[in-house]
């Protein structure tokens, strides 16, 4: 955790996040994210052995709803906001590669 991230890391992360970076942005983000991550190393100043992570502020459990049908929204209204639609469906350019 002592090494801040490399330019390759930033490039990989941008790809995972579906963002394209210019060369200039790549340099800038590498520096800025590195600074933030160096600051984040203060988290290691606490002894956190055996501490449970908190993903959620309150311990609510079993929040469920009844299995009852509610009206869906008008399909015309759904597709009205679609960038592209055809035949009642959302249209996208060709898909390269299968879903995981």
């Amino acid at each position: 955790m002592t090494e801040p991230l490399s330019r390759e890391d930033v490039s990989h992360v941008a790809k995972l996040a579906r963002l394209r970076l210019t060369e200039e942005e790549l340099v800038r983000y590498t520096e800025q994210l590195g600074k933030i991550l160096v600051h984040a190393q203060d988290l290691n100043s606490l002894d956190l052995a055996g501490v449970a992570p908190t993903a959620h502020p309150f311990g609510l459990v079993n929040v469920v709803r009844q299995d009852e049908v509610h009206p869906s929204i008008d399909p015309a209204a759904v597709l009205a906001e679609a960038p592209d639609a055809e035949d009642g469906r959302f249209a996208v350019p060709r898909i390269v590669g299968e879903a995981p």
Binding site: A55, N62, H70, E86, G88, A91, R94
Partner: protein, 475 residues
């Protein structure tokens, strides 16, 4: 199928079942197959900004029921986001269970007693459906795709077996048994062709007792037949590669049912980086004892137990009868056979009529009460109806209901009186003295010869058993 040169298959199966709920996992849109595209969607299952998921109670209960049926530990569980971009995934992450699934460490026993371990059976949401436009209809070569989100957010349970399966037949038996269980407990309608039950097979090969080989995951297995064929093809393909000195690449492969072969779909270059983290929009599941007990108490008898019950009523049974038992349990027709058993009738006869006549028209069962079935079987057993007549009466009952005795009468299935039968048999013996002598000398096969003659003479109105009784009395 046995493999050449001491090779052995190692198979693990991942079965996704859609749950038979009224609504989706996280919203109140209908969970129904076959509606017009994008008519069962709302801000939640479309992943619109600001929308939030709320868990369907019935889906949790069905997931727990699956856990109980598969002898799993049902535990407090959490939900995670599996992050990846794909147009059929509206939020570009899937809500799924990751390190702490609702069900873990179970097993399923095959009809032959072989036990397959279940690693986990966890809850997750389904994706939308993509249609590829272009020449092939498949993803390759399409220039445009269309997405329908009706299926998006439908509740799924993914059941992951251990790598315990060693033959394609076992794989088939496993899925058949699992499907029977899911149908029996009302969790799934088990339709592989419609995709409500989806099977992926992880296949590798090894020499006996060697460490596991590199596995490939086979997708697009839309029937039990496809599953078995695909596994056999894939195992032989891998053996060929290995025997030629090659290496198996870990990849996902597509089964082509028409061509009867698998082909590369996606190579796993490195472990995908799904960036799993706890879903902050949902809270944990921690079903208390009362809730667990309630679900467990609601479980019906499972197929294995039901088969055992019927088989115990039959005593020794043939392979054909074993298959017949499996068929009627799969289709939930046990009550007919059990009804005949309760009435102290002929269970073997009841099994045959259920597995053949009723199973051929399952939809007609609403017209056929257990009492009427018991009565029809009794009439046949007592010789009041011939086998052919009994089948006709059952067919009529399944088609349009009614009273079996009245149908028999209306069809003119008046039973031959024993006097008439006796006269007919006597005449036929006189006309065929040589055959009669041989029968008297102990050639039992000739009984069939005389039955045939009696049937012909009585236009099928005689009962085979009554004919045999008459012949025996004169022997």
């Amino acid at each position: 199928m046995s493999l050449p040169n001491g090779w052995e298959m190692v198979i693990g199966l991942e079965v996704h079942t859609e749950l038979k709920t009224k609504t989706k996992l996280f919203c109140g849109c209908a969970n129904a197959f076959g509606s017009a595209p994008n008519t069962q969607v709302c801000p939640i299952c479309l992943g619109l900004p600001g929308s939030l998921p709320v868990m369907n109670e019935r889906a949790v209960e069905l997931a727990m029921a699956i856990g109980f049926a598969l002898n799993c530990t049902i535990q407090d569980s959490t939900f995670h986001r599996k992050n990846y971009f794909y147009p059929d995934m509206p939020k570009d992450y899937q809500i799924s269970q990751y390190d702490v699934p609702i069900n873990a460490h179970g097993y399923l026993t095959l009809p032959d007693g072989f036990r397959v371990s279940i690693e986990r059976a966890h809850m997750e949401e389904d994706t939308g459906k993509t249609t590829h436009l272009g020449t092939s209809g498949r993803i390759h070569g399409a220039d445009r795709s269309l997405v329908d989100y009706n299926r998006s957010g439908v509740p799924l349970v993914e059941i992951v077996s251990g790598p315990d399966i060693r033959t394609s037949q076992q794989a088939r038996d496993y899925v058949a048994e699992l499907r029977a269980i899911l149908i029996a407990i009302g969790a799934s309608d088990g339709r592989m062709e419609e995709g409500s039950l989806r099977v992926d097979a992880n296949v590798s090969v090894r020499k006996a007792d060697a460490p596991f080989g590199t596995r490939c995951e086979i997708k697009n297995l839309n029937s039990l037949r496809s599953l078995q064929r695909a596994i056999e093809y894939e195992a032989l393909r891998q053996i060929e590669v290995l025997e030629d000195g090659g290496k198996i690449r870990q990849e996902t492969r597509h089964w082509d049912e028409d061509r009867g072969e698998t082909s590369t779909l996606r190579v796993k270059e490195e472990a995908e980086d799904y960036r799993y983290f706890r879903e902050p929009d949902l809270v944990d599941l921690a079903p208390d004892q009362a809730w667990r007990d309630r679900v467990k108490a609601g479980l019906p008898r499972l197929p294995a137990e039901r088969r055992g019950l019927i088989e115990s009523l039959l005593g020794e049974l043939s392979d054909a009868q074993r298959d017949a038992v499996a068929t009627i349990v799969d289709q939930g027709l046990d009550e007919y056979v059990l009804g005949v058993a309760d009435a102290k009738g002929d269970v073997s006869l009841a099994l045959a009529r259920t597995a053949n006549e009723i199973a051929a028209n399952v939809a007609g069962r609403t017209n056929l009460s257990v009492a009427n079935f018991v009565a029809t079987v009794a009439m046949e057993q007592l010789g009041q109806l011939s086998a052919t007549q009994a089948k006709t009466v059952l067919g009529e009952l399944l088609e349009s209901g009614g009273d079996p005795a009245a149908i028999a009468k209306a069809k003119g299935f008046e039973q031959l009186s024993s006097d008439t039968l006796s006269v007919t048999v006597g005449e036929l013996i006189e006309a065929n003295p040589d055959e009669w002598q041989r029968f008297k000398d102990g050639d039992d096969k000739l009984a069939q010869f005389f039955i045939g003659l009696v049937m012909k003479a009585t236009k099928g109105q005689a009962n085979g058993k009554a004919v045999i009784a008459e012949l025996q009395s004169r022997r």
